[in-house]
Symmetry: C2
Subunit: 119 residues, 2 copies
DNA sequence: GCTTGACCTGGATCCGGCTCCAGGTGAGAT
DNA sequence: ATCTCACCTGGAGCCGGATCCAGGTCAAGC
């Protein structure tokens, strides 16, 4: 059962310490274990959940929805079908984002070509 | 020389009227023509520039950078090489965004598969 | 000739998501 | 022993990007 100091958690997750504290405060992260001095000691599980959070955040899921997902996770195994639904829905949005970006990119490339053509 | 009322510009660009006014106020849009009553009359050119803005915005370019690009456009033809550089750089970032989303999407899909496997 | 309804303005406000601050504690290095 | 440094807390502040508001002006249909 390895534990991670705040500095290590920052290193591993790429979130700032302030952000980790903020996520704990708003309940996106369950209350993190503490040592005798009251300092946080992150578990492997915390880090793995933070990996999920990073993934959802970086694909544009709003915090409010991540909170809902977090509740499902906490509520236990019986919510797995719901979690699948949430992730599938999100997956579709990510797909749409990619398609949209690719489309916009074509516009940008046409513009670049146009600019080259008038040089 | 067709002109567009505010409502038509909203319709064409997908921006809200407030946003169009805001873009004009901050200088992302050059001062739009007015009719005798002081109401905006957008030109084809305005709409086409707004198309560019939409593309840049939807690909995540911050307003500050769009403003810099707008200045290049206003400064005249001799800035075309600079504009190409800006767009190429942005194109690379868009490419990176797409790659990142695709990577995150794989994570999500692995998670979905995992959830399915434990049902 | 009145009433709608689309506009106008400057400025305040909101929102999500952090980020920073002051003031304090405890543990390890010198 | 003392210093430093990583931490802690609650709460304030910031930033980007709009969005909303009050109070006012025209234009056009009935």
């Amino acid at each position: 059962m390895t534990v991670y100091t705040p500095a290590e958690a920052v290193e591993e997750t790429g979130f700032t310490l302030d952000t980790l504290r903020y996520y704990e405060k708003i309940g996106l992260l369950e209350p993190v274990e503490r040592n005798a001095a009251g300092q946080r000691r992150f578990s492997e599980e915390d880090l793995s959940w933070l990996g999920m959070i990073r993934c959802l955040r970086d694909t544009g899921m709003p915090i409010a929805e991540m909170l809902r997902f977090a509740e499902l996770v906490r509520a236990g195994e019986h919510t797995i079908p719901d979690r699948i639904r949430v992730l599938e829905e999100h997956d579709r949005r990510v797909q749409a984002q990619i398609a949209n970006l690719a489309e916009r990119q074509r516009y940008i490339n046409r513009k670049i070509s146009y600019y080259r053509s008038v040089l």
